[in-house]
């Protein structure tokens, strides 16, 4: 059987137009997100010139959540909590919400332990990054990936 070359071309052109339309739609519908770069910039602001070390921070967050509007998050930092050696701050960041910051917790020797938990919003499947700032000026970090099926932040009001 012979295929008509013009019909084939038309199909491909039509497909191209449809594709381009979908692409531009996707681009215009994309809300202003925090990008991994803007998260890096926010982290840089906290960090200054200090070096970021892996470890000492433990994040407890479900790997898969149905509802991004309320995601339980628990953080524990391995550290003595004495006057001379303690966790000063715990910073929480995210990659893809409209803003990269989530929260900053200020602790001290009176905390007794470096353990906090809260509930956060996640607009998309993404990494949550936690940075602990110690009294000796060092920074420790850990991250956790969370898969979100229903996103928060950008949904319409019902």
């Amino acid at each position: 059987m012979m295929t008509d070359p013009t019909s084939q071309r038309r199909t491909s052109r039509r497909r191209f137009i449809a594709g381009a339309g979908a692409l531009s739609l996707a681009l215009t519908l994309r809300p202003a997100d925090a990008t991994p770069e803007s998260m890096q910039a926010a982290i840089r602001e906290v960090l200054g010139n200090a070096k970021l070390n892996q470890g000492r921070v433990k994040i407890d967050v479900p790997p898969l959540v149905e509802n991004g509007n309320t995601v339980p998050l628990s953080i524990a930092v391995e550290s003595p909590m004495t006057e001379t050696e303690h966790v000063k701050k715990i910073h929480v960041f995210n990659e893809k919400n409209p803003l990269p910051q989530v929260a900053t917790f200020h602790l001290g020797p009176r905390s007794g332990a470096a353990r906090v938990s809260t509930r956060i919003r996640l607009a998309d499947t993404q990494d949550v990054v936690v940075i602990a700032e110690m009294s000796d000026g060092t920074f420790w970090t850990a991250s956790a990936n969370v898969i979100v099926t229903l996103a928060a932040c950008n949904e319409d009001v019902i």
Partner: protein, 106 residues
């Protein structure tokens, strides 16, 4: 007025690390949600939480719109002496919600 729930142990041993849980009812409007006509609803969140133990600050949290509605926070403190724990939430309008809890330390 926002309603707050606080869980502090009534009694504790001196030097014991106690866990405190707090929950306050608040919309935590992110400022990123459109309303029915597509206009963004202005941001209104609780941006600061402070816990003081007999007048001395022991815990503080800076919150951003990524904190879920009805902010729930748990943290720890060392039971040093009997007294009052003060909890203070401040929102974007500068409105302050305050709550107290007593603790007896043996």
């Amino acid at each position: 007025m926002a309603r707050a729930l606080i869980n502090v142990p009534k009694t504790a041993k001196r030097g014991q690390v106690i866990e405190i849980k707090t929950l306050i009812s608040h919309e935590m409007e992110t400022g990123f949600r459109p309303d029915r006509v597509g206009k963004l609803i202005p941001r209104d969140i609780i941006n600061t939480f402070v816990c003081s133990y007999n007048g001395i600050e022991v815990f503080r949290a800076d919150l951003h719109p990524a904190i879920a509605a009805n902010p729930f926070l748990t943290f720890t403190t060392v039971a040093t002496e009997s007294g009052v724990l003060d909890f203070k939430w401040t929102d974007d309008d500068g409105k302050i919600f305050a709550e107290k809890a007593n603790i007896v330390v043996e």
